[in-house]
Symmetry: C2
Subunit: 342 residues, 2 copies
């Protein structure tokens, strides 16, 4: 058998159209007070979710997101063939601790905030190739566990510069399956790493925007499309500054990102919430997608969309050693009906 | 199209038999002085490889392993469709920094020391499903960068207990492709996480052995095989203590791991090198496989083997918080000729 499912340089297509059978999003207090608050399946006023540590709280969010998504799909844990999961913590512990008691084959991913898109691409490949029937893709982030690890102890109360983004306390989960009424994942564009030389750990948007530009242009070229071919182009999470840089980069190269372009980091908080450039973290784009957007795809509001997860491969160790922050972006094309597939 | 490539609960098969076109291994000074020294493509007397930091040295090893493997396959970097890579460092920086200038679509993995096996499974799926033609799988570890991050500053000179393993300074790379004279990857068994309750960061073997047992038994069940069905069963890296525990667990359950069973951590150092329980680290099993073993498969010494990567999902943060060290194991079956495929 010689299947040829590669398109161009970066994209693979999924001819069988793996479906997203169900999805769920959970989020913390600040996120629940934002514009998308009502779309989350569960929200938690307590940052610890009654756990002893923030890391365990983050694991608990992943467990809940998975549990709710399974419930919606009327599946039990045993019917899962694989879990693809990842997060921002060193050694991806919120993922491994969340799923260590499930008995489900587990593959850990690290793509920083691009992990949800990376997982959806791998999950769709698994389903399309016949390697599994029920695949869970889950990511999370937690403001407290992430800030402590990447920047400063919270107690320090450091000032955040205007370019900073706010790591979301949130988790999102999607269950992929071969037989579904949609939405469907029709392609995945796997990005390469782009290092724009940014060394400011409080300016992730600038570090990631060039990678988003490269991946989106690869997607358009590989699939012979343009921004107009999509109802929605959603990056996550460039934030206000990064998405402006992306628009500029596109404009400079003759690509018009119009009114259909949004960024998860900008959608999840309102300007009055004082997060500066908006949300970030593996959980942000996952919760926006699995909270609001997939509901709208199923309801017919979006027929064909791009979900482009953007990650800053930021490491405190490398920053201390004077290195820059490379960025990466992975994208999947999601369509509401089979006829809309690329 | 309805392909059914799932076998049992944990295993997927690759009917097209993705080939391993080429492979390469590089290693540090201590590893080059061990029993496998002559099998490494390059060895480095200087732990920094003339880089400014150990982290950058580790990245340089990944670059060299990839470069040599590409050379052997007579491929250039541009012909690669994807890189699957991972390592032990926080945010997997030795991988992302190694490949950030390649322009090759990149997917970061985190499976601790099981990452090479995880990558081979995903890479084989990518090739078998027709999603790419030349896929590089690379992992690395470095004694100095890992010890500093996971245990103690090197300058502290702490005593290592007898159960400790020595993180190898090494990297291994394999290039997968649909058209090859072999060796071939015929199946992958994706493990679930097993938490045996071990809290001693100097006893990784005990933390990982139960996961290795679960994955090997799943492999035998899913593929209707037994240890006798293989010329070689290779775990990496349980070390001397962990592999003894695995033998015991198997014996207690009526499975006889015989003289065909070896562990990469035990193979890479000789007892006189004072590493206690042997080698560990993402680079250990990768370098043993891509240094010596795959050469021997091609030469006909092994017709059908299991490569079972074992990882301790160990996090200093969780250890400080009193949590245990969960283990995971992913396995691939490699055969020398098409007729030997499962």
């Amino acid at each position: 058998m010689n299947r040829k499912n590669k398109l161009g340089t970066h994209t693979v297509r999924f001819p069988s159209l793996p479906g997203i059978a169900s999805w769920a999003a959970v989020a913390g207090k600040k996120e629940s007070a934002g514009p998308l608050g009502k779309y989350f399946d569960e929200t938690y006023p307590d940052t610890t979710l009654s756990q002893k540590t923030w890391e365990q709280a983050e694991s608990a969010m992943q467990s809940r997101a998975l549990g709710i998504a399974l419930e919606k799909a009327k599946l039990d844990q045993k019917s899962l063939d694989r879990i693809y999961a990842g997060d921002l913590l060193n050694q991806c512990i919120s993922s491994s601790f969340a799923h260590k008691a499930t008995g489900v084959p587990y593959l850990g991913l690290y793509g920083a905030c691009s992990t949800m898109a990376q997982g959806l691409g791998l999950g769709a490949m698994t389903v399309d190739g016949g390697y599994g029937e029920n695949i869970a893709v889950i990511t999370s982030s937690h403001f407290c566990s992430a800030e402590r690890q990447y920047r400063m102890p919270l107690e320090y109360g450091g000032q955040r510069p205007p370019s900073a983004q706010w790591t979301c306390t949130a988790s999102g989960c999607a269950i992929l399956t071969p037989n579904s009424d949609g939405p469907y994942i029709c392609s995945a564009t796997c990005g390469h790493i782009v290092d724009a030389g940014v060394t400011d750990a409080n300016n992730m948007g600038a570090a990631m925007a060039p990678a988003a530009f490269d991946t989106l242009t690869a997607l358009f070229t590989d699939t012979s499309t343009s921004p107009d071919s999509f109802d929605l182009i959603l990056t996550g999470d460039l934030g206000a500054l990064g998405s402006k840089i992306l628009r500029d980069l596109c404009a400079q190269n003759g690509i018009k990102l119009g009114e259909n372009y949004f960024d998860c980091g900008e959608l999840i908080f309102s300007p009055s919430q004082d997060t500066h450039c908006g949300g970030s973290g593996c959980g942000c784009s996952a919760a926006v997608l699995c909270g609001k957007i997939l509901d709208e795809v199923r309801a017919g509001r979006y027929k064909r969309m791009i979900f482009a997860g953007t990650g800053a491969l930021h490491s405190p160790t490398e920053i201390q050693q004077g290195s820059s922050i490379p960025g990466i972006c992975h994208a999947v094309v999601i369509c509401g009906e089979r006829e809309c597939a690329l």
